[in-house]
């Protein structure tokens, strides 16, 4: 892998001071910084590439991007998943032009080189034109990513050969992720199809908006809330019993009232469903997590996945240059849900967080203007304020991660940009500090933590 950039003297710390709580605006529009992000972050992070439910059968595939690199994700006959570049080793053409489907092979349109779903070169059109020794088929397969891993249905891949395992990468964030991925027997699936839109904004604005920005909701989304809620605005936030939790740059901000996000979905049947299920969820995940799930909450997985537990939108911010990203939106539901509940969730998500959704419609405008107004040579040198709640860190018996009290806070944003800085400056990913030191070591423990039931 071309990692020659990584050894260079990093100078990214000058773009922020997270102890003081400010960021330099240039990280949101500068083309050189963006190029470095593609190498230092997107080529080295564990990136979400698929949900296992999208690839139920052998030969199922989908195409996506890791950073700006186009990749194919396929289910193998042995049930494993492979990920490789969607680019022919011969002249570089795309070998798959569909978003998803099922196939036995990928054949390049240009010269007819054919690859099986493992990405191995199987044959070429007019193969006789090559002399003996011209081609080593083994060396001319589709370029595989270095590692692929899965966590409770979410498939991740990374171009980095070294660096933390997926479990270490997610770390104690798995404790939180389980609320989304494992709140009911059978796990989750994505509803069919994917809605995509293009937004002329820097990708980080989307991630930071979901990682911890409860603060914008009451203002930006007042109209959305009122439209879904018979004219009522957002209820006040309980700042004593709500939190920010940050782990290795991932973040989840949440209340503990159990109903806020479910309510915003605007689907009474879905609320009833979860109300009935809540005792079972408490058995499964403990009382505290059963109360957190469904609350006003939002979360992001570093670097570019976000979701709303309870509202069930699941999304990825795909970078397309410093001032543009593509937003992919899915709906995530529990497999065990009856069909009518799944449909209710799907309709609710598209009514709130699809491109025509009552909430989503106001966000793009903000992110675009946050990005484009900084084109000014004077404006771009101004700092931005990320200091909210900087003094409210707490130690919590139950909640893992770097925890702050109070849902209105920039703590998770600071955690995200700290990780951004760690990645941008790290020469050796193994040496990157965990943030914070993990409490959990194995997956099993995410269900069995001392103090779990103390709310």
């Amino acid at each position: 892998m071309r990692m020659d950039r990584i050894g260079r003297e990093p100078e990214f710390s000058r773009y922020m001071d997270l102890k003081e709580g400010w960021l330099d605006r240039r990280i949101f529009s500068d083309a050189d910084i963006y190029e470095e992000e593609l190498y230092r972050i997107f080529a080295r992070s564990w990136l979400f590439v698929a949900h296992e439910s999208q690839l139920p059968k052998a030969g199922d595939f989908l195409t996506t991007h890791m950073g700006e690199d186009a990749v194919i994700v396929t289910r193998q006959p042995d049930g494993t998943i492979k990920v490789y570049l969607n680019s022919c080793p011969h002249r570089g053409n795309k070998v798959c032009f569909a978003d998803a489907g099922n196939t036995r092979r990928f054949v390049c349109n240009y010269h007819g080189w054919a690859f099986n779903t493992a990405g191995e070169l199987q044959g070429m059109h007019e193969e006789y034109c090559y002399d003996e020794g011209d081609i080593d088929r083994k060396k001319n397969g589709l370029r595989q990513v270095a590692r692929v891993g899965s966590y409770k249905g979410l498939v991740f891949a990374t171009f980095a050969e070294d660096g933390p395992s997926l479990d270490a990468w997610l770390g104690d964030f798995r404790w939180y992720l389980d609320m989304l991925l494992d709140n009911e027997e059978g796990g989750t699936e994505l509803v069919g199809g994917c809605i995509k839109s293009v937004i002329s904004a820097n990708w980080k604005f989307g991630v930071e908006n979901f990682i911890g920005d409860a603060y914008h909701a009451g203002w930006t989304h007042d109209s959305g809330c009122r439209s879904m809620n018979n004219g009522q605005p957002f209820p006040p936030i309980d700042m004593e019993n709500s939190y920010h939790a940050s782990v290795n740059g991932h973040g989840w901000e949440f209340g503990t009232e159990g109903v806020g996000d479910l309510f915003l979905l605007g689907r009474p049947k879905v609320m009833e469903y979860y109300e009935k299920m809540r005792p079972k969820m408490a058995d499964r995940l403990g009382t505290m997590r059963s109360q957190i799930f469904g609350s006003v909450a939002s979360a992001s997985i570093f670097p570019n996945v976000s979701f709303l537990p309870g509202i069930s939108t699941f999304r990825q911010w795909q970078p397309k240059g410093p001032m543009q990203f593509e937003l992919k939106t899915w709906v995530i539901v529990n497999k065990a849900m009856p069909d009518d509940i799944k449909d209710e969730v799907t309709k609710g998500v598209m009514q709130t967080f699809g491109p025509g959704g009552t909430f989503e419609m106001d966000d793009g405008e903000n992110w675009e203007n946050c990005t484009t107004v900084n084109r000014g040579v004077v404006t771009r040198h101004e700092r931005l304020h990320y200091r909210c709640g900087i003094g409210r860190q707490i130690d919590h018996d139950t909640l893992p991660g770097i925890v702050y009290r109070g849902q209105y806070n920039d703590a998770n944003q600071r955690g995200f940009y700290q990780r951004w800085l760690d990645m941008m400056e790290a020469t050796d990913l193994e040496a990157m500090p965990p943030r914070p030191e993990p409490r959990l070591t194995g997956i099993a423990e995410t269900r069995d933590l001392p103090g779990l039931f103390a709310l």
């Binding site: 605006r25 949101f28 604005f205 920005d213 603060y215 914008h216 009451g218 203002w219 930006t220 006040p236 936030i237 700042m239 106001d362 405008e365 903000n366 203007n369 946050c370 990005t371 484009t372 107004v373 900084n374 084109r375 000014g376 040579v377 004077v378 404006t379 101004e382 931005l384 304020h385 200091r387 909210c388 709640g389 003094g391 409210r392 109070g406 209105y408 806070n409």
Partner: protein
């Protein structure tokens, strides 16, 4: 960057790369637009407290707003919290600007006035005084024109304008009632480098007879301009090209009426000139009252403001990358004009120099093609020339500046590029030379 090699004013040579290079453009944004006084708005556009007008300084988005006490302030149009644009309207009146994203609101004086959930989210610990809107370092007015400057070390607006005021006053101070810009802003995207329209208007009398031949044939009601169609028999001596004034320029005829040549019915305009000329002459002196006021006169304030009293259009160019601008145009009037004259000016402008203007619609493609033809690998290495009437300038009794005779000359363009080069080479204002050549000695001299 070797700015010295890009311009040679002694031979009138410019490298074409100045119209297309990204590196040149980036440096311009810092050293020209980041340093010079830039036109923001006319006082008539924000007459009342809390009236605001949104514009650009270079590519920086700026709000200009009238304060309670009548003063004018300007701020970067960006929230100090996440950087969002806080005002997306072109103009209006507002008691506050509230950011769409989190609802931070700012008072007309830029102070951070409201923070939603200030106690819940910030526990009252946010130091509001540090998060007001970022003000433009200097804002000043000259006889109705409001200018802003990002550089706190820049000379005062008065010094910046220097002796160009002699020409500026031909519009701004001709009559006691002052001036106004009327009409909504006419905005147009042109795929041209910003310097090309500036040089087109600052000194290029040469293109009039040719580029605008069709419009002149259609519109010219009387041969007042001394220009004829096709560049073959123009009266070349009837005007002056004035430069040598800190980069500001004037291009003027001396007949006192030709500015009104393009009105379908010039008579009411000429009557207006006739009736008011004694007042103007008393205020501005004989030279300006009789020779400049009413003439076709193009005035350029470096770097990007141009206006033509008489033809009555007023214009700024906002750069949008090396190859694109937004051109903003208004109609200009004197407040002492009768309402019907003002209305005629606004209406005639839509026929001549508005978005669908007969004259304006001739220039855009030329400017775009000049830019386009500076962008190729080979053409970017070539030069263009402004060497017409080189070395034929000097002092002229009664007029400040270094002056070449006639409307058809490239004297002014050379000074424009010279000024541009001076700014591009200087690392700060202390390295930028000041020159007001051939100044008028005294008020008496002005009135002589």
């Amino acid at each position: 960057m070797d700015v010295a090699s890009l311009i040679d004013t002694s031979t009138g040579r410019q490298s074409r790369s100045i119209y297309s290079s990204d590196a040149v453009y980036r440096q311009e944004l810092e050293r020209v637009f980041g340093r010079c006084w830039l036109f923001l708005a006319h006082i008539s556009q924000i007459p009342r407290p809390n009236d605001f007008f949104r514009t650009y300084m270079g590519e920086d988005d700026v709000i200009v707003i009238r304060q309670k006490d009548g003063a004018v302030k300007a701020f970067l149009n960006t929230c100090t919290h996440r950087g969002n644009r806080i005002c997306r309207a072109d103009r209006g009146n507002a008691r506050s600007f509230t950011c769409n994203y989190h609802g931070w609101s700012f008072a007309p004086d830029g102070a951070l006035a409201g923070v939603p959930l200030e106690n819940e989210a910030y526990f009252g610990e946010l130091d509001r005084s540090k998060f007001g809107l970022v003000p433009v370092a200097q804002v000043a007015e000259y006889k109705g024109l409001i200018f802003g400057c990002f550089d706190p070390a820049a000379p005062s607006l008065d010094d910046y304008l220097g002796d160009a005021k002699f020409y500026l006053d031909v519009w701004l101070d001709a009559l006691p009632g002052g001036t106004a810009l009327v009409g909504e802003t006419q905005k147009m995207v042109l795929n041209t480098n910003w310097k090309l329209p500036v040089e087109n208007v600052c000194g290029d009398g040469y293109h009039l007879g040719w580029a605008h031949a069709g419009a002149m044939m259609a519109v010219q009601s009387m041969d007042l301009s001394g220009l004829s169609v096709g560049n073959s028999s123009a009266n070349l001596d009837g005007g002056l090209s004035v430069a040598g004034l800190n980069g500001h320029m004037a291009l003027t005829s001396l007949d006192g009426v030709s500015g009104y040549a393009f009105y379908p019915e010039p008579k009411p305009m000429l009557d207006y000139l006739e009736a008011n000329r004694p007042t103007v002459t008393e205020r501005l002196g004989k030279t300006r009252g009789e020779q400049l006021w009413g003439s076709q006169i193009n005035i350029t304030i470096f770097p990007n403001l141009q206006f033509l009293p008489g033809l009555n259009w007023f214009r700024v160019y906002h750069p949008k990358g090396p190859g694109q601008i937004e051109q903003w145009t208004w109609a200009m009037v004197e407040n002492d004009m009768p309402e019907n004259i003002k209305a005629t000016i606004l209406d005639n402008q839509c026929l001549t120099f508005g978005l669908a203007g007969l004259f304006d619609n001739d220039d855009g493609d030329n400017l775009a093609a000049c830019t386009e033809q500076s962008r190729g690998w080979r053409t970017a290495q070539m030069d263009v020339y402004t060497n017409m009437a080189l070395g034929r300038s000097g002092a002229r009794e009664g007029f400040p500046g270094d002056i070449a005779a006639g409307l058809v000359s490239e004297h002014n363009q050379r000074y424009f590029y010279r000024r541009w080069q001076e700014h591009m080479q200087a690392s700060s204002w202390s390295d930028v030379p000041t020159y007001n050549l051939n100044p008028l000695g005294s008020r008496e001299a002005v009135n002589a």
